[in-house]
Amino acid sequence: MNAFRDIFLTGLLLGGIFALVSVGLSLQYGVARVLNVAHGEFIMVGAFITFWMLGSINLNPLVSLVITGPAVFIMGLILHKTLFRRLMDTSPSLDVFEGKSMLASFGLLYVVQNLARIIWGSDVEGYNFLNSTVTAAQIPLNRLVALGFVIVLGVAFYLFLARTRLGKAIRASAQSPTTAELMGVNIHNVLAICFGLGLGLAGIAGSLLSTLFAIQTSIGLGYTVIAMVVVVLGGLGSITGAMIGGVILGLVSSTVTFFQPSLTMIAYYVIFIVLLLSRPKGIMGK
């Protein structure tokens, strides 16, 4: 019974982290149609900005979210306006655009990772942050904070999408870009904003992850792979799907780790592949 509780709690906390890593990717693909292989690199960038600010001006990592999020968001805007917008204009069909943008993001992966390496070096970095537990259940405080942030972000994001003018425009654009245009939505701006938001969320995720794990300029791809698994689990493009997918993967991970840790990665990919084959649109897909 205790073991069961442990598995569940760890899975939930881990799920929060996975969801955090993935929501941005889901947004980028769902609306902007970019399967961003460089997603994890921006998580890394967020983590390093946080780490760097902690070291240089001793800024609390949770405060630095306010800087990393917008900073990476702006990078995303610029990237979309320059790179992906152009690709979109020159692609004859959405399929071609998806293929090309995925490859372009692969190039981006190299650029970002190596720029980061040149700026920050290849060290393994880490720091101790809220490294205590909520005693009764022995829940690590930093993970709880991360989960809390995921929930807050999730709710905030939900409210943003549900209540605001821009949020509705984003949802409308995700369903039908052409019709959204007829409503007066400047589709290119919305796509750029979505891509930017996706990256911004990656940046925030990076800030939070740096409080939990060792960071290195080469960690990006690992997170991209996790994000892809989660996003496919939840259904490409679905925000709630990404949340649910994250929790599912967290639970799978904690269960497998409990019984046979070395099978964790295999379990991820088996679930991923089985799901792709049986329900390609994901659990939340229609």
Partner: protein
């Protein structure tokens, strides 16, 4: 008139092809060492890229499973290294890759577009991790030593596989399968309603292309004294052929070969001249190529070529 010119052109072309073939075939007799090493690499990537283009080019299905088949061949060569002679290993690798690809192809029929790409991407990771776990449990280590083959031997092996790949690719392109595959890529539905067995065509071509990936893997494995699952099933092996094909252009088979050759060669120069900036430059060049060379180097060359010839006579 027209026929005569065609034949003459063809004669010249065939002659040139023959010369290129002979140069490549006898190169190890005149030079050795690094040039051959580099050529082995170029030929390896040319094989992978052409094999990738054979299926993914006309069908439009973007496969990222290259590393899985290449790695299988690689691993088979390592596991049975010393047990069987080298040529047998290479043929075995091709056969196993073919069979596995048949299975994978049959499984993925429902997936299209980006889903197919993601599936094949995950496949590589799955195979890598499964082999890793098997090695840990069964052999209680991670890697294997491989009996090496002389550089010259490897060169000829890879050269033969390359020639086979090119011949097969040309044959497939010119056969009914090539046409069927191309129609599937253009309009799968219309192809099916015109009597094409879409499933069989896709799966079979996918599997045939995997043969050469597996063979290349088996040949290259003998270059390494030591291999492990991370080396065998490396995601880069999946991505690079795609990038090389894009870089070279996919309108005909020369594109992938040019792409692989230029990519590897330029990469090597950058790598040795600017070790610190290489990957950065690589990324930037890649993005620029995708942005500004939609039909790759070949497309660019053809545009320039046409412009040059345009003054004299209309393009054929």
């Amino acid at each position: 008139m027209k026929t005569i010119r065609m034949t003459r052109n063809r004669g010249i072309t065939l002659g040139l092809l023959l010369i290129a073939f002979l140069i490549l075939a006898f190169l190890p007799q005149v030079t050795s060492g690094y040039v051959i090493t580099l050529l082995i690499d170029i030929l390896k990537f040319a094989i992978l890229t052409v094999a990738w283009v054979v299926f993914s080019g006309p069908s439009g299905y973007m496969s990222l499973a290259t590393a899985a088949f290449y790695g299988l061949g690689f691993y088979i060569a390592a596991v049975f290294s010393g047990t069987f002679p080298f040529p047998v290993l290479v043929i075995m690798a091709g056969a196993v890759a073919f069979v596995v690809a048949l299975g994978v192809g049959a499984l993925t029929l429902r997936l299209r577009g980006v889903y197919f790409a993601i599936f094949t991407f995950a496949l590589v990771l799955l195979v890598q991790n499964v082999v890793l776990e098997i090695e840990r449990v069964v052999t209680e280590t991670r890697g294997r030593f491989v009996d090496t083959v002389s550089t010259e031997g490897v060169y000829y092996a890879i050269f033969i596989v390359f020639v086979l790949t090119m011949l097969t690719a040309v044959l497939i392109r010119r056969s009914r399968y090539g046409l069927a595959l191309q129609s599937i890529g253009e309009y799968e539905e219309a192809a099916a309603h015109s009597g094409i067995n879409v499933v069989r065509t896709k799966v079979l071509t996918f599997a045939v292309s995997a043969i050469f990936m597996g063979m290349a893997g088996a040949v290259i494995a003998t270059r390494r004294t030591y291999i492990d699952p991370y080396i065998a099933f490396n995601l880069n092996t999946s991505f690079l052929p795609v990038l090389m094909a894009m870089f070279g252009g996919m309108t005909n088979l020369a594109g992938p070969v040019i792409g692989a050759a230029l990519f590897t060669y330029i990469g090597e120069i950058l790598l040795t001249r600017f070790p610190d900036l290489y990957m950065l430059i690589f990324g930037v060049v890649l993005i620029l190529a995708i942005l500004f060379m939609p039909n790759g180097v070949l497309g660019l060359a053809q545009r320039v070529w046409r412009k040059i010839r345009g003054g004299r006579r209309a393009p054929a």
